[in-house]
């Protein structure tokens, strides 16, 4: 139930989310031998964009203007449902994990509609790619959350995370490890990171998420960027909840920073996949989740 502590966790998430992309960029720069932008660059960018005028295509309708706000609201709703380690979520009810996935889908749907609304070829191409890849990443998320539900016998996210540490024995470890691996891949795919997407590219033809927001500018773009940062925060929390379910919120925050650094290292060490090879990767993530689910099904009474 809503309490001061759970509300604080949501506020911390809202405030700290833009830090994660900053840490990733910083780590990548350090590996490449450069100093890189300051970790707070994400905030500076948001402030800069919020000071700009609204600039919208004449052919775009209200859908284009409304989509960033609705998309951001959907991600914030998702954040309200996400527990932080031992601490439960702000809201919690049976089946809230399905609502979480629904919120993420709604945010993406808004972004795709806005992209199509402009009539731009690049944005539409990005939309088609994003729709295709997220449709493939979604089953992995569904199966792995279902696996957690089966493992703990709980149907709410807070219940699952709270029940994970006590219920998991040594025999469950392989299944849970597979779920975590699937979540790691889904995290990279859903947040447009290498090896699935290259967030730094300026090449229109290779973009996925960047092409989707190509037409947005000013405050609209700020909302999209902030929504993307929050989404990364949300996925990070989910991964932390799976890996260190027993930890208190401070340990989770530290884990988040480590995760961002880890993403930076992964991005520095490998090239981006060919677009053609992304679907097999995501199907692989779903297969890992399914295998984990099957193992948990057998080991859980």
């Amino acid at each position: 139930m809503p309490s001061l502590g759970t509300g604080l966790n949501v506020l911390i998430g809202l405030a700290a989310a833009p830090l994660l992309p900053g840490i990733i960029a910083r780590v990548k720069a350090m590996v490449a031998g450069r100093r890189g932008p300051p970790p707070l660059q994400g905030y500076y960018d948001l402030i800069r964009l919020l000071h700009k005028d609204h600039l919208r295509s004449r052919t775009a309708t209200w859908v284009f203007g409304g989509a960033p706000a609705v998309g951001l609201a959907a991600v914030v709703c998702g954040l309200l449902l996400m527990p932080v380690g031992r601490q439960p979520a702000f809201f919690s009810f049976e089946g809230d994990w399905m609502v979480l996935l629904g919120c993420l889908a709604l945010a993406r749907w808004c972004a795709i509609l806005a992209a199509l609304d402009t009539g731009s070829g690049f944005a539409a191409m990005g939309a088609s790619r994003d729709a295709c890849f997220s449709a493939l990443a979604e089953p992995a998320l569904f199966i792995l959350l279902a696996g957690l539900a089966r493992q703990t016998g709980e149907l709410s996210l807070s219940g699952m995370v709270a029940g994970l540490a006590p219920s998991a024995g040594l025999t469950d470890a392989p299944g849970l490890a597979l779920l975590a691996a699937a979540l790691g891949l889904a995290l990279l795919a859903e947040n447009a990171r290498i090896p699935v997407d290259d967030p730094n590219t300026h090449l229109e033809l290779t973009m996925i998420h960047e092409a989707l927001v190509l037409e947005q500018a000013g405050p609209d773009l700020a909302l999209m960027l902030y929504g993307a940062a929050l989404k990364l925060w949300l996925f990070g929390l989910l991964l932390m909840n799976l890996l260190v379910a027993f930890a208190d919120s401070f340990a989770v925050w530290c884990g988040m920073i480590l995760m961002a650094a880890g993403i930076g290292v992964v991005e520095s060490a490998m090239a981006r996949l060919r677009l053609l090879k992304v679907p097999p990767l995501l199907v692989g993530a779903a297969a890992l989740a399914a295998l984990g689910f099957a193992l948990i099904w057998r080991t859980t009474p």
Binding site: K28, V31, A32, G33, R34, G121, F122, M125, I194, P195, D198, N200, T201, H202, L203, E204, L205, T206, E267, S268, A269, M270, A271, R272, L273, R274, L275, L276, K277
Partner: protein
């Protein structure tokens, strides 16, 4: 019956020595010669006093190391060479655009440099069918690159056809060259394609020296070769870094960016300009290299080679990078020959041609450099050939620097001889650069034709993209890395 005239590159001949053929015979001779392995490397036209157009064909025989010249005079329509020899397509489009000739049977007679407002086809080829969509990119791009328009016909993510429309950088360089005073002329070549300054100025200087029968001193030729190889090193390293950047592989991207700067600074050490501006002039070079700077150059080369090796070899040992490079944008040997590709793009497809070996001029007559080829013709091939060339250029530089010929580094240029013609070729980093120069009866330049390697290779990029994923286009494009202004002139 007269035959095509055989000449060596960078030598002058009287214009009237070039044999003249009737149009039909000219066409048959060019087709027959190119069947036996010769290549068409230039096809400049010029207006005669009678108002017709005189077209000169320059054929190159790699095996014999000789050029073959023949002329014809025509007006209006003629049967297109391109029908039988696709590598003539850009040359004939250029003739049609500049002189109003109409090559009959040319499959796609579109103006080359004027996308709008000129006669001929100006539409893009449109592919029709279910699920086919069109994507147009440029001429304004998201990155800081030159303008060019790319029209993709796609089926989903697959490219069915790519058409490239250029001309946005057309500055009228060739026309200005003949009108400019001799002292200013070289500046046009320094900025003709900004990254090929040494390649073009060397070809120009050799042409002027040939036309005035005053060869440059050996020391100048050696220094030009050093600058040309440094230019190759800088650009090849930059390209490998850019390829790594396009697949999102940061380590090589950042290190190669720095190494490119190191190579550019070595050129600056010689002449004060990172791009070699102000170095090469007709008659020699403007900057000598005393022993202390020569030693400094060698020291820097050793240092940079170590870094380059570790940065570049990381590419070949990283599976995710190789998965992006291999099998992408394949140009087969046959296609490369049919389209008349040059440079690393041709050598990566297995064509064993290199103007430094086949048509040596200047210092390359005395010091040979092994040719690097590969067989796959894909992005990896083009990247790997660059790496092989980097290593061979480094060895060449070290040897040349340790044994620089003594003597003067420039001689005052002489007046051009009247009514002469010369063809010069340099193997610049992007490929074979061909210059054709002619003087009139007063010894002034009457015709100057520049064939940049980009002019020959753009069609290669369009064909390499067929059946590829559209998301691989930037990578493929980078592996060719062609010049827009070198093409548009």
């Amino acid at each position: 019956m007269k035959d095509f005239l055989s000449i060596a590159p960078a030598r002058q001949i009287p214009i009237e020595a070039v044999p003249m053929f009737p149009v039909e015979e000219f066409r048959e001779r060019v087709i027959a010669a190119t069947r036996n392995g010769m290549r068409l490397i230039a096809l400049p036209g010029r207006r005669t006093e009678a108002g017709s157009v005189r077209v000169l064909a320059v054929l190159a025989s790699d095996k014999a190391g000789a050029l073959f010249l023949g002329e014809t005079e025509m007006d209006g329509e003629y049967a297109a060479l391109t029908r039988d020899r696709p590598f003539a397509q850009a040359f004939e489009r250029e003739l049609a655009e500049e002189w109003g000739l109409r090559p009959l049977g040319h499959p796609w007679l579109k103006p080359l440099r004027f996308p709008c407002g000129r006669p001929g086809v100006t539409d893009f080829l449109v592919v029709q069918g279910e699920g086919i969509h069109e994507i147009s990119v440029g001429p304004v791009h998201a990155g800081i690159i030159e303008p060019g328009h790319f029209r993709f016909q796609c089926a989903g993510e697959n490219v069915v056809h790519l058409e490239i429309a250029l001309g946005y950088q057309h500055r009228g360089v060739e026309q200005s060259i003949c009108k400019a005073p001799a002292q200013r002329r070289v500046c046009y070549f320094e900025t003709l394609a900004g990254d090929t300054t040494i390649g073009h100025t060397t070809a120009y200087a050799q042409a002027m020296e040939a036309l005035s029968d005053a060869p440059a001193p050996p020391r100048a030729e050696a220094l030009r070769a050093i600058a040309l190889e440094l230019e190759r090193l800088a650009n090849h390293t930059g390209d490998l870094g850019a390829l790594a950047n396009d697949v999102g592989f940061l380590p090589t991207a950042s290190y190669c960016g720095r190494l490119r700067g190191d190579f550019l600074n070595m050129t600056a050490l010689i002449c004060g300009s990172r791009f070699g501006r102000g170095l090469v002039r007709p008659g020699g070079v403007c900057f000598d290299l005393e022993p202390s700077r020569s030693d400094e150059l060698r020291r820097r080369l050793d240092e940079v080679e170590k870094d380059a090796r570790s940065a570049v070899e990381l590419l070949w040992s990283t599976p995710t990078v190789m998965a992006r490079f291999e099998g992408v944008g394949v140009v087969s040997t046959d296609v490369a020959r049919t389209l008349g590709l040059v440079g690393p793009a041709a050598r990566a497809a297995g064509l064993d041609q290199d103007a430094r070996r086949d048509f040596p001029s200047g210092w390359y007559r005395f010091h040979h450099i092994p040719t690097a080829t590969w067989s796959t013709g894909d992005v990896f091939g083009r990247a790997f050939v660059r790496w092989l060339e980097i290593q061979r250029s480094l060895a060449f530089l070290r040897e040349t620097l340790s044994a620089l010929p003594a003597g003067e580094s420039n001689r005052p240029p002489k007046a051009l001889l009247p009514q002469r013609l010369t063809v010069t070729m340099t193997e610049s980093w992007r490929g074979e650069t061909v210059h054709v120069a002619m003087t009139d009866e007063h010894g002034a330049l009457a015709l100057y034709k520049v064939v940049d390697p980009s002019f020959r290779n753009w069609m290669g990029l369009a064909v390499a993209m067929r059946g590829q994923q559209i998301s691989d286009f930037p990578l493929c494009n980078k592996s060719f890395n062609l010049s827009y202004c070198g093409h548009d002139l």
